[in-house]
């Protein structure tokens, strides 16, 4: 990280559809973080999906953190990966793009790739309903805690 990078904000993107059950875990974690972190240094977004225009904001950040639901057999299990090489980005996309594609678009268009962390929680349901399952409510607290640690105690 260069000295100029230190002045860039952290970008947090918690994405998903809040009326599709656990798909809303990303926006829910975003809302938790909005109450727990210094918003002068951290920009928090809660879109329904990732789109290419977010590359501008990713490129302008010193660290980007993504939060999403994922398909899995163990509701509430949290996964944390660092999006590594942009060259692994998915080659096709719909109206939404994947985290790897977002990293790739950012790198290719703007020549920078800030560290990008992806937190995902295995969902219990994607059915049409308000609110998260009990497993995902617990997972959301877990993810928020991990992110606060990442922000303020990165070691």
């Amino acid at each position: 990280m260069t000295s100029s990078d230190r002045h860039k904000p952290v970008l947090v993107i918690g994405y998903g559809n809040t009326i599709r059950g656990d798909d809303g875990v990303g926006p829910y974690v975003a809302s938790l973080l909005a109450e727990r972190v210094d918003l002068q240094d951290v920009h928090i977004l809660a879109p329904q999906q990732l789109t290419p225009d977010l590359a501008e904001q990713v490129a302008a950040s010193r660290l980007t953190i993504l939060i999403d639901a994922r398909i899995g057999e163990n509701p509430g299990r949290v996964h944390h990966v660092v999006i590594e090489s942009p060259s692994r980005a998915a080659p096709t996309f719909q109206h939404h793009i994947t985290p790897e594609t977002l990293a790739g678009v950012t790198h290719t268009l703007y020549g920078v790739t800030p560290p990008m962390h992806l937190f995902t929680a295995e969902a219990a349901t994607f059915e049409l309903q308000d609110g998260l399952s009990p497993e995902l409510l617990a997972a959301a607290e877990d993810v928020a805690g991990h992110i606060v640690t990442l922000l303020y105690n990165p070691s």
Partner: protein, 471 residues
């Protein structure tokens, strides 16, 4: 012997879908169907809830067309309240709907469709995507990112949040526009206009290389539906009257939104969850019509703004029936949107502080209509004496185009699909005709690690003869 080629799901469109191409004994295409395999139940989901919750709830149907859903929903609720929304609020709503149209069209044109034009239909899909686009022409890719960001920024400046703003409320909007916001939005418009005009120039030159696609991609006679201004033959994206024209652009129906059930029927088929709206006087499936950018430009006489009108004159010299021309129509609508936003910002009434009317439920049903990026959007609500929802009917833009999309897929498959081999070029052309409509099947989840593309060729006994998976 019959075989089926299955393309499942279609890449670079929203939601879950697949295409089935039915071959006859000689390997020729006998039929083609565009299936939507994911059920959505918003009409049931809203029953029992207070009607005034609907704009916020319905906006969550889609992360791309949020604004248009909220506007149609708010209108339906205002009809239930029997209130008239203040003029300033109507104008502010138009600004965000134009901005929504810009961000959506930018996504559809630059990031979904342009890799096909710039790189060619025969190119390997590993290269024929946004990364190929960025490698071959990074300026176009950056323009796409920037134009969508401008649309989103206008929404964010005016409505507070870029996605799912709670600023559009029943009775108007939650807060007036500040002078600071007016200046911020105005400052974004010259860059947007420059991007659109640069892209129009490039794309019109590119179209010369796609004459065959123009003649085969969903090129068939149909009717066209869109809103028009109440008092003029001008493009309208919010309220107005509904108009249907024939394939010669002659008006055959002109009606108030409350009369839509008299003109639009809805059929269902067992092989898809997507309904099939049709023009009632022609019956089903004969009553095929199209909505969206191509339809809007075919219905109107003027866009209402000077630069877009110049483009409309040139557009008239092209084939008005080819769905391939949806792409050009999107760019012209973007230009019109930028000009229209500027006109609205220049209106001295735009800073008026009175932007919301208040009332409770006064009648038992209400209908709202807006023009979403993909076409006409109808919300029809029923409530009980306490204002609780008892029923809803939504006809979303992609649904209106269902008959036309199926017709387009069949036409393209007959031209390009050779049953003896499964080439990327022919499969992509079938997909590309769907992408021309830019369907938004939305309401889907977007969870990490979902499969992007699964292509199967299936024999008469169910045996998988060929299969392609893309991550």
């Amino acid at each position: 012997m019959t075989e089926r080629i299955v393309i499942d799901p279609v890449t670079r469109i929203e939601g879950h879908s697949k295409i089935t191409i039915q071959l006859d004994e000689t390997g020729n295409v006998a039929d083609a169907r565009f299936h939507v395999t994911q059920y959505r139940g918003f009409e049931r989901f809203c029953v029992g809830r207070p009607f005034y919750e609907m704009p916020g709830l319905m906006g969550r149907i889609c992360g791309i067309c949020t604004i248009s859903h909220m506007l149609a929903s708010a209108q339906a609720c205002e009809a239930i309240m029997s209130v008239r929304v203040m003029g300033t609020a109507q104008k502010l709503r138009k600004i965000v709907n134009y901005a929504s149209l810009i961000q959506s069209h930018a996504l559809a044109f630059f990031h979904l469709a342009s890799p096909d034009f710039l790189l060619g239909m025969e190119v390997d899909p590993k290269d024929r995507n946004i990364f190929g686009l960025m490698r071959e022409n990074p300026e176009i890719a950056r323009d796409g990112v920037r134009l969508r960001a401008i649309g989103q920024q206008i929404i964010g400046t005016l409505a507070g949040k870029k996605v799912h703003p709670d600023w559009i409320v029943v009775g108007g909007v939650a807060s007036p526009m500040s002078e600071e916001a007016r200046q911020e939005i105005a400052a974004l418009l010259p860059e947007a206009q420059e991007i659109i005009q640069r892209t129009l120039g490039w794309f019109k030159r590119t179209l010369e290389d796609y004459k065959e696609e123009v003649s085969t991609f969903g090129n068939f006679p149909s009717k066209f539906l869109s809103l028009v201004n109440e008092h003029e033959e001008v493009l309208e994206i919010y309220r107005g009257r509904l108009r249907i024209v024939d394939d010669h652009r002659k008006t055959i129906a002109d009606f108030h939104r409350d009369e839509y059930p008299d003109f639009i029927g809805e059929a269902v088929e067992p092989w898809t969850y997507l309904k099939f709206p049709y023009y009632k006087p022609d019956g089903y499936p004969g009553g095929i019509y199209r909505v969206g950018p191509l339809a809007r430009l075919n219905v109107i006489e003027s866009t209402g703004t000077p630069m877009a009108d110049q483009e409309l004159v040139e557009f008239r010299s092209r084939n008005p029936l080819s769905s391939f021309n949806y792409h050009l129509a999107r760019l012209i609508e973007c230009l019109n949107a930028v000009e229209s936003i500027q006109q609205l910002l220049d209106d001295p009434d735009i800073l008026n502080a009175r932007v919301r009317a208040h009332a409770t439920a006064n009648v038992e049903s209400g209908i709202g209509v807006s023009e979403a990026p993909r076409g006409t959007l109808i919300h029809h609500y029923e409530v009980d004496e306490n204002g609780l929802m008892t029923g809803a009917n939504l006809i979303v833009s992609t649904t209106h185009n269902n008959l036309a999309m199926n017709r387009g897929v069949l036409q393209t498959a007959r031209r390009y699909v050779d049953g003896s081999k499964l080439t990327e070029g022919m499969l992509n052309r079938v997909e590309a005709v769907i992408r021309a409509f830019d369907p938004c099947l939305s309401c889907s989840t977007h969870a990490y690690n979902q499969l992007a593309l699964h292509v199967q060729m299936v024999g008469p006994d169910g045996e998988v003869l060929d299969e392609v998976k893309r991550g």
